[in-house]
């Protein structure tokens, strides 16, 4: 057996029983990287010292296992570029809270993964260091912006990975690469030491081979951080504990399958099939009807979220990228790529005098409508499920020349992300012809990741994959 294909939980168990050794595991991981990285372009940097660090971490909870980390997390000793030429060669003087916690628990950062430059995109094609390919089908995109991390998990080039999401950047690549990706509640995981994109939306989160692996990792990285004022002071529960709670008696709302863009598509079919699985397991599944305004027991159309998300996020981007002056580190602003320039220009315009009220303030009002809508829905439903993306992974080149590519790809998760809700995407369908996957996005109310994990785990254990 190739040890790089092990899940995090299995690898830990086997290491503990001494049935495998860290050396063997690292040998297989490093071999996979050596064989595939040139083709897939997943890692921008690989830590040559990883094995040495792993040996020192053996006794800790994560046992020295190799974790891939998106290149927007600051890591001492490994360059951090956010896949932008502006930060080419930047060596961080401090460590992000997430990687610090990962290391303290015995995780080893095996390498830094490719992403859309500054996390601006949903394809990993806009990286200044070339696109990443989808390991399931090399002609297709891995999604993004955490495309490198999702692909690293799918290609068994790590045991698990860390990504970050504003709206879809973990769940969409996880869905397209056929792995599990989790976006926690906003404020659950610290953003300190992460190259900021949309500060009111950014959420670091785990990407793994199983729901349980994500539960283990989330517990490690979650919790209050004195360096991020928006982190919650609630202690992070042991997410593994409630995995087997099941879905019996739960009310599950099925969302967005009646959206004109989805009706009759493979996503529509896959969602309905998923609904049947939950019913078989004892849950009550209902279709939550789409509506154009906030009405009881309906879900507000995601159509408004596209514009809303664009305004909020571009505004925050233009502010967050102001610090990259090329004076103290990195390159000057002429090194920004097309997409970053476009976002800075749009954000600057949106926040200008006379326009801020028209766009930014108005957008915040619409945002509170979505928050209100979800609040009411969670009074009825335990979880809401939808697709994280309108379809299968698109072919390489699909995002070129389309400034709104990401916003349209992520429209189904934008409303819940704007409301700060958590969601987990798990594989729910595989097309045997293309080997491409669809994901199932399970959303819960704020701080209810445990419920979300229970639903996801139950589905994962009960889905029958085609022979």
């Amino acid at each position: 057996m190739k040890l790089n294909t092990l899940t995090l939980t299995n690898a830990l168990a086997l290491l503990k029983k001494k049935e495998i050794s860290l050396e063997e595991l690292y040998r297989d991981i490093e071999k996979a990287i050596e064989e595939k990285n040139n083709e897939l372009n997943i890692y921008l940097t690989v830590d040559k010292e990883a094995m040495k660090k792993a040996r020192q971490a053996q006794e800790l909870p994560l046992g020295g296992l190799p974790i891939a980390v998106k290149d927007n997390f600051l890591t001492i000793g490994l360059p951090t570029t956010a896949s932008s030429n502006v930060l080419d060669g930047f060596m961080p003087p401090y460590e992000s809270t997430v990687t610090k916690r990962l290391k303290e628990s015995g995780g080893v950062v095996i390498g830094k993964t490719n992403m859309d430059a500054w996390a601006h995109g949903s394809s990993t094609e806009t990286s200044d260091f070339g696109p990443t390919k989808n390991p399931r089908n090399l002609k297709h995109l891995p999604g993004g912006s955490s495309g490198g991390s999702a692909a690293a998990v799918a290609a068994d080039m790590c045991i698990a990975a860390i990504g970050s999401e504003t709206a879809g950047s973990i769940r969409q690549p996880a869905a397209w690469c056929g792995v599990v990706g989790l976006k926690p509640t906003y404020g659950r995981v610290s953003r300190a030491g992460v190259v900021a994109m949309g500060s009111s939306l950014d959420c670091p989160g785990p990407i793994g081979k199983t729901v349980e692996d994500c539960a283990v990792l989330l517990h490690v990285i979650a919790g209050k951080d004195e360096y991020d004022g928006t982190t919650s002071s609630q202690t992070a529960p042991r997410y593994q504990k409630n995995l087997k709670d099941g879905v019996k008696g739960m009310r599950i709302g099925l969302c967005y399958t009646d959206h004109p863009k989805l009706v009759g598509t493979p996503v529509d079919v896959a969602m309905r099939e998923a609904g049947k699985v939950f019913e078989r397991l004892g849950a009550k599944v209902e279709l939550v009807k789409l509506s154009k305004s906030v009405k009881p027991n309906t879900i507000l159309t995601p159509d408004y979220a596209i514009g809303l998300y664009t305004i909020v996020q571009r505004g925050e981007v233009s502010s967050n990228l102001a610090r990259y002056d090329g004076i103290r580190y990195g390159e000057d602003r002429s090194h920004f790529g097309e997409e970053a320039k476009r976002r800075i220009a749009l954000g600057t315009f949106i926040l200008s005098k006379g326009y801020a009220d028209k766009y930014y303030v108005h957008a915040q009002k619409v945002r509170s409508l979505y928050i209100q809508n979800f609040k009411e829905l969670f009074e009825t439903y335990d979880v809401l499920v939808s697709s994280p993306s309108p379809g299968f992974a698109l072919p390489i080149g699909a995002s070129a020349g389309d400034p709104m590519f990401g916003e349209l790809q992520d429209m189904l998760v934008e409303p819940s992300s704007l409301a700060g809700l958590p969601g987990i995407s798990i594989p729910c369908f595989r097309d045997p012809e293309t080997n491409l996957y669809l994901g199932l996005n399970i959303m819960a109310n704020h701080w209810q990741e445990e419920k979300m994990f229970a639903v996801a785990y139950t589905f994962e254990q009960n889905i029958r994959w085609d022979p």
């Binding site: 030491g193 990259y324 580190y329 005098k353």
Partner: protein
């Protein structure tokens, strides 16, 4: 009344003397830092991934200038619609006719200070250096309405604000060091109708002044600017909206960069900082922690101690002086209980203490309040004993203490001290020691050695 009226508003920045900076744990001590850039971290250096986390202390130590609290939520200022009273002294009239004038404060908010740019020549090359020690230091900004009409009012307001800030111990508020900075805005309104007409419309322009590093500069710069704009209006010219800097060398204001248009600034709520919410109880607790402010203290001193308006003003100038005064009053009161009939007869009143402090300006760092009371007592006793009484007592001692007298004549210095003691005993502790010594020496000189 002239045909123009100056319209002046102030924007004042005060660096708070918190232990750490506004949004990080770095030390807030830009003036005494041994080297540039030693008090910095990813947050105040603006490194990738650095997030601001507000330092609640900066908010809690907030002065209670304005009345109507509106607690900060995102872009909302900490406080709005406040005011500060100053006295307006009508020209050529006595201070008895002072009129209380309310200067409205539009808003008070906290922001973070910037780093400091230093332009220098190193190895023949002109370079710009940046010191980030100051970057992220909490700064309180006080913006007044354009309520000032004279330089005197501005001067009074500034001094009063500085006094309050120092009373609260939240900042050194030192103009020279830059921990208090001032940007006055000045425009001139032509008076068209009667003098008492309320202002209907402010001028359409205003000139903002920078580079003002002392109260003296403020006065000179504003006076210059009033003159300059008045002369322009007299010539039929219209002053334009601009930023001008005070040049102390030339004694003039000079135009700086053209004022940015408002759209050059882009505001939006800082998503990294959750809204601050305050309970009513928290606010009242904070209010209770605010020390007595100068005006209250002055009034209390007048009422409780019977000080005059003028004396009370001087005694409450600083908190330290006022505290010293009250300590001395306490000492004077407590000695009343000792039962000593003599002390009871010669009570040192608060008024006496205040007078002594104002006239003699004792070094309050060197002299303890109890010592001060003793000094005042000793001095005030002088008047109680006539010179005749002193000389009488000396005569008597000289007559009675023949042994000590002969010792003294033989050159024994201790004999002088003994004789002095005897005279003081004779006087029952009354009289100024210095005067008694002088008189005794005079007498002894007659006897020769």
């Amino acid at each position: 009344m002239g045909k123009y009226e100056p319209i002046i508003g102030l924007e004042i920045h005060v660096e708070l003397a918190t232990a750490s900076k506004m949004f990080c744990g770095c030390k807030n001590d830009p003036f005494f830092a041994s080297d540039p850039n030693i008090y910095t971290c990813p947050v105040c250096l603006g490194m990738p991934g650095g997030l601001p986390v507000p330092n609640k202390k900066a908010v809690e130590f907030y002065p209670d200038l304005p009345k109507g609290y509106q607690i900060s939520q995102y872009d909302k200022p900490l406080a709005i619609h406040g005011s500060l009273e100053i006295f307006n002294y009508p020209i050529n009239q006595s201070t008895n006719n002072q009129i209380k004038e309310k200067i409205r404060i539009r808003r008070v908010h906290i922001e973070e200070d910037t780093g400091k740019l230093i332009h220098a020549t190193i190895e023949g090359k002109r370079v710009s250096l940046v010191d980030f020690n100051r970057s992220g230091v909490p700064l309180v900004e006080v913006v007044t309405e354009p309520d000032f009409r004279t330089v005197e009012e501005v001067d009074q307001f500034l001094k009063k604000l500085q006094q309050i800030i120092r009373y609260l111990s939240i900042s050194g508020a030192d103009m020279e060091k830059g921990s208090m900075r001032l940007e006055p805005s000045i425009s001139i309104l032509p008076i068209t109708n009667t003098t008492n007409n309320p202002i209907i419309q402010y001028p359409t322009y205003r000139v903002e002044l920078k580079n003002i590093n002392s109260f003296r500069f403020a006065r000179k710069a504003i006076e210059y600017e009033i003159e300059r704009q008045t002369a322009m209006l007299d010539r039929g010219e219209q002053p334009i909206q601009q930023t001008r800097g005070w040049s102390e060398d030339k004694g003039v204001t000079l135009p700086q960069r053209a004022k940015e248009e408002a759209q050059d600034y882009r505001y939006f709520p800082e998503p990294d900082i959750p809204p601050m919410r305050w309970e009513k109880s928290q606010i009242s607790k904070l209010k209770s922690q605010i020390p007595e402010l100068p005006d209250q203290k002055k009034e209390r001193f007048m009422k409780t101690y019977g000080l005059s308006d003028y004396d009370s003003d001087l005694i409450t100038e600083t908190r330290k002086l006022a505290d010293y005064f009250e300590e001395a009053v306490k000492v004077a009161e407590s000695t009343l209980d000792t039962g000593n009939q003599h002390i009871k007869q010669h009570h040192i009143s608060p008024k006496k203490i205040a007078n002594w402090m104002i006239n003699k300006q004792p070094d309050i760092d060197a002299i303890l309040p109890s010592q001060l009371v003793q000094d005042i007592r000793a001095a005030s006793l002088v008047v109680d004993v006539s010179i005749d009484e002193i000389t009488g007592a000396i005569e008597q001692v000289v007559r009675e203490q023949s042994k000590a007298m002969s010792d003294y004549q033989k050159g024994k210095e201790q004999a002088l001290m003994f004789l002095l003691g005897q005279v003081i005993k004779e006087l029952k502790g009354k009289g100024d020691k210095q005067i008694i010594t002088e008189k005794l020496k005079e007498k002894l000189a007659l006897y020769g050695r």
